[in-house]
């Protein structure tokens, strides 16, 4: 069973529906006991970094996430949820993240491109395709909506998208994974990513 973390940020309806569409049992919850029992955890998020971190703190879920990370429960951050996995964000000031991954979150350089980076963009996987993308082909498009992106995370990048500059599209380090784009809004390609994630098991990634 996959748990979608409900900490008062964003709309989780589509995410729940997309897991149902691939036949994955899921539960939207903020209950620590349920999260501890989960086979996998999805950390969603839209909005501002600081608000999201504050809501995570006040919901008491940071320690739960830390225990899950230490245990090796597969954890997938989506969009802002991915950004929260890093050490720090520079969105409206300087704010501490969860620090599960090395790197910081900064504005996408606006040189010649519109901000936010909004729309369908192609993924490139580099030399080795991560298991999260085992059902995908290089160049498959996914849906992005963001103005900030992770940098300084070379050791965890598993996919890039070109937007004036290479933008961190997905990251992974052991059981900690993140997608800057929205797999739940990326059509069949997105469902294939969620399917690959839902096949991951504790201690195996």
């Amino acid at each position: 069973m996959t748990v979608i973390l409900d900490y008062g940020v964003g709309n989780l309806f589509s995410l729940g529906c997309s897991l149902a569409a691939i036949g994955e049992a899921s539960e939207i919850t903020s209950d620590a006991a349920r999260i501890e029992q989960a086979d996998r955890i999805i950390l969603p998020g839209v909005g501002a970094f600081r608000d999201a971190m504050e809501k995570l703190k006040s919901s008491g879920l940071i320690s739960v996430l830390k225990r899950a990370a230490a245990k090796g429960t597969p954890l997938l951050g989506i969009c802002l949820g991915m950004q929260l996995l890093f050490e720090k964000s520079y969105e409206y000031g300087e704010h501490e993240g969860l620090g599960f991954l090395k790197g910081v979150v900064k504005p996408i350089p606006a040189a010649g491109v519109k901000i936010p980076h909004m729309g369908w963009n192609a993924l490139s996987f580099g030399q080795k395709k991560h298991p999260l993308f085992k059902y995908l082909t290089e160049g498959d498009c996914v849906y992005f909506v963001h103005s900030y992106a992770a940098v300084g995370c070379d050791d965890s990048v598993i996919a890039l998208a070109e937007y004036g500059t290479p933008v961190t599209a997905a990251v992974a380090k052991g059981s900690i994974l993140g997608c800057q784009f929205h797999p739940e809004k990326s059509g069949e390609v997105g469902l294939k990513i969620l399917r690959a994630f839902c096949e991951m098991k504790e201690g195996e990634v």
């Binding site: 709309n11 589509s14 569409a21 909005g47 936010p116 729309g119 963009n121 909506v145």
Partner: protein
């Protein structure tokens, strides 16, 4: 590289899809949920649902349609029509919408864009504008294109972007339903200054119109149309293939 988006628009009244020409002469077509599924499978990059219902019963039917679509179709959904308050935003976002488009509601209450952007983020707020040439300038029309607001369209769009609109849908009343191509002159005037994505609407009649749009105006991010897709005059899969042939970045869905 980011792709140019192709967006079918579904006008929904009492739970049914409707499309007229020049905003009059409405004709019913099909189940919106079925249409949405077909579009998604053929490569639509996004869907826009416009609620043109007047009654509250119709409004409930609309949110039912939206919920059912969101359960089955996993591409971005934008909802417009009758959005006047943050309560309206909340109602459609809860039913699975990703973005909300404001038009007359923002004209009636110019604080709506800024308030919504603050709560839901810029990316969630789409400013839709119906524009018609009046005395040599571009004028904003409200109430489905029936009422001349007297507002200058370029000023209104600039203000909307400043207030936090994350995207502009520019619908030319002059070319809408005429099927002789998008209003390139009007679009060029807006893309010249817009810092947010611009979606072209009104006037597409054939595949070539989209090719011309993206070749002549590379700053346009997306093309929106309704009846040509509903009636099968243009297939989205064919359109995407033609875009690639013309070196316009497009997302292809594997069949």
């Amino acid at each position: 590289m980011i792709t140019k988006r192709i967006i079918p628009c579904l006008d929904v009244r009492d739970g049914q899809v409707v499309k007229g020409t020049n905003f009059v002469g409405l004709k019913e077509i099909a189940s919106p949920v079925e249409l949405a599924k077909q579009y998604s499978a053929s490569g639509a990059d996004e869907l826009v649902f416009y609620d043109i219902t007047a009654s509250s019963d119709g409004r409930d039917l609309f949110t039912d349609v939206l919920t059912e679509t969101a359960k089955n179709v996993f591409i971005p959904l934008t909802v417009g029509g009758g959005i006047r308050s943050l309560k309206d935003f909340d109602r459609v976002l809860k039913c699975g919408a990703d973005k909300v488009s404001v038009n007359s509601g923002a004209i009636a209450d110019p604080t709506l864009i800024a308030r919504a952007a603050k709560v839901y983020g810029d990316q969630c707020v789409v400013l839709s504008v119906d524009v018609k040439r009046v005395d040599g300038s571009f004028r904003v029309f409200a109430k489905g294109g029936r009422v001349d607001t007297g507002l200058d369209a370029l000023d209104w769009i600039k203000k909307g972007i400043d207030e936090g609109a994350g995207e502009i849908v520019l619908n030319s009343i002059d070319t809408d339903g005429v099927k002789r191509g998008f209003d390139l002159e009007m679009l060029a005037a807006v893309t010249a200054f817009s810092t947010v994505p611009v979606i072209a609407s009104g006037g597409a009649g054939k595949i070539e119109d989209f090719i011309t749009l993206f070749k002549r105006l590379p700053k346009v991010d997306a093309g929106l149309a309704a009846s040509i897709f509903h009636f099968g005059e243009v297939s989205i899969a064919d359109l995407k293939k033609e875009m690639l042939k013309n070196a316009i970045p497009a997302r292809i869905v594997k069949e």
